[in-house]
């Protein structure tokens, strides 16, 4: 268990000793800041959910998750460093969870920086702090799910570009599947696909409600991705 933290710590060290952490964070925060400004100007309302709940931000978040997670395991497999980690007494799941945790901590740091927007809103108007908080919870959960998908695709290949593209493809597919489902409402397949949509579970958080079904959806997505990633790491040795 301690090894989860050991691995996460080294990964954070790697993030911050290269430009990856700074560049991805700066790019994401710049785009989020632009959206924030745009929605503020047009709506003239102190509501952060316009920014957090926008499809634009969600798409940028997908790209962010793909880029931040692509090297996690792909790089170790390409360079062979994984051999030294896995010949130390480290369990496969500790490796996966440690890597994931590092990307999650990086994401949290970014969320904390983006809180300046809420402070601006509080100065300018009277934002609904409950809705802002639940919006952030939703934002964190959907980000956590995307990072887990990225961790999975990074385990499946030793090529970082392939890992990133697969992550984007899976995330976009999970997003668009909702619209397929909505074409045939009432049928089992239609409802199933609507419920499977990663973005559909996101809106609830924006108006201040925290529905356990949505929380459970994202947490299961994280658990399933990390579970599959662990199995994929094990499976690599059998080939």
């Amino acid at each position: 268990m301690r090894n989860v933290w050991n691995i996460a710590r080294r990964e954070l060290y790697a993030y911050f000793s290269s430009p990856i952490a700074y560049v991805t964070m700066a790019a994401f925060l710049a785009m989020m800041g632009f959206l924030f400004w745009l929605f503020l100007i047009y709506s003239q309302q102190a509501i952060l959910s316009y920014t957090l709940g926008s499809g634009w931000l969600f798409f940028v978040l997908i790209l962010y998750a793909a880029v931040v997670t692509m090297r996690l395991l792909a790089e170790e497999q390409r360079s062979g460093t994984i051999e030294l980690v896995l010949t130390a007494p480290v369990r496969d799941w500790e490796m996966i969870v440690g890597k994931y945790l590092a990307s999650l901590i990086l994401f949290l740091v970014m969320i904390v920086i983006s809180l300046y927007q809420s402070f601006i809103l509080a100065r300018l108007g009277n934002p609904d702090l409950g809705a802002t908080a639940s919006g952030y919870l939703g934002f964190f959960l959907v980000g956590a799910a995307l990072l887990a998908i990225g961790t999975l695709t990074s385990t499946l290949t030793r090529n970082q570009v392939v890992a990133a593209i697969s992550c984007i493809a899976i995330a976009v597919a999970l997003w668009l599947v909702q619209f397929v489902g909505e074409r045939s409402p009432g049928t089992f397949a239609g409802d199933f696909l609507s419920q499977l949509g990663i973005f559909a579970h996101y809106f609830g958080f924006m108006d201040g409600t925290i529905d356990t079904q949505h929380v459970v959806y994202y947490l299961s997505l994280v658990a399933a991705s990390l579970f599959l990633a662990t199995r994929a790491l094990e499976a690599r040795r059998w080939r």
Partner: protein, 330 residues
């Protein structure tokens, strides 16, 4: 300390290692010798629990490499070929990370000891990516001895080093081998004969010979098969050759030549020549042809001669003393 029984490994349909059986006692230094692609790395990866065997089993310190993988990994120090390291980390940070992964109780002490043993204390604060190949190799070795493992497994520990570094690393391995069980692999004979007490020759995934370096050299050098090419030989040639003392069999080969098998360890070429000439035939060619082991032996001894063969050993020995002197000063 280490046992392998019928150890087998397939990569898909390709057979990398087949039916290996060996036993290594505590405190031995054993060399896996074989040409590239013989299955040495695969065997080592199975002993370190990195790869599961496809068949058979292996045990390290009485723990099965598959079922008790964590226990095995706690007891084994491993240095893979072309030591993969994180280039952005400093030597110190990297060794501290590996010590943390191994959950050593006193990390900084273990790291200091490994740094000193491998002579890289001066480079502790440098980024690994900026180190020379020789120093990276030492970082790999330091990482492998951090936890004072009962078993040390080194895959081609001296590959790609200059002669001076080679002798330094060999000396270090002998030093470590006094207290630990060591397995190292190599594709050059001088390397294992200098450092190892016992050698397993592996070819195409199978053990083809084992013994001390002296035993193997003696076993390998006897001429066992001889090719005789005769002009104008009669049909009785096979019979004539068979009658020679020490010859087990003879059969015609292409181009008027005959393959003659002799008792292992005896050179019968002189007797064969006399027998042919006594018949009044013309002896065109007479040479010993390698048995499979000798082929391997030749390959192993000649392949790297330009850089590392026996011929270069004397100067290398000199630089060893130099190296030791330098170490003392530092």
């Amino acid at each position: 300390m280490i046992e392998a029984e019928n150890l087998t490994r397939y990569y898909g349909p390709t057979r990398a290692v087949y039916d290996l059986n060996f036993h290594i006692d505590k405190g031995e230094i054993v060399g896996f010798l074989g040409p590239n692609g013989a299955g040495k790395t695969t065997t080592m990866r199975m002993l370190t629990s990195f790869l599961p065997p496809s068949g058979g089993m292996a045990r390290v310190a009485d723990f099965d490499v598959f079922y008790d993988s964590l226990e095995v990994r706690r007891r084994v120090g491993y240095m893979p070929e072309t030591v993969p390291l994180y280039p952005e980390m400093t030597v110190l940070a990297y060794l501290d990370y590996m010590a943390a992964l191994r959950q050593l109780p006193n990390r900084s002490q273990a790291v200091d000891r490994a740094l000193e043993a491998c002579g890289i204390g001066d480079h502790a604060d440098r980024a690994i990516g900026k180190l020379s190949k020789g120093y990276r190799q030492r970082v790999g070795l330091a990482q492998a001895i951090l936890h004072e493992p009962e078993v040390l497994i080194l895959d081609e520990p001296t590959i790609g080093l200059d002669p001076r570094q080679v002798t330094e690393v060999r000396a270090l391995i002998r030093e470590i081998g006094r207290e630990h069980t060591v397995i190292l692999s190599s594709h050059i004979l001088p390397e294992v004969s200098q450092t190892c007490g016992r050698v397993l020759i592996i070819n195409k995934g199978e053990i083809v010979a084992k013994g001390t370096p002296q035993e193997l050299t003696a076993q390998l050098q006897g001429a066992a098969r001889v090719l005789v090419r005769i002009a104008d030989a009669g049909p009785e040639a096979v019979e004539v050759l068979k009658r020679v003392d020490g010859v087990i069999g003879a059969e015609p080969a292409e181009g008027g030549a005959y393959q003659v098998s002799c008792t292992q360890g005896y050179d019968r070429r002189a007797e064969l020549a006399r027998a042919v000439v006594e018949q009044g035939w013309g002896l065109l060619e007479l040479r010993s042809v390698g048995m499979s082991l000798e082929d391997i032996f030749l390959e192993l001894t000649t392949e790297e001669t330009p850089t590392e063969g026996a011929l270069e050993e004397p100067p290398a020995e000199e630089s060893e003393h130099e190296g030791e002197g330098g170490g003392g000063d530092a």
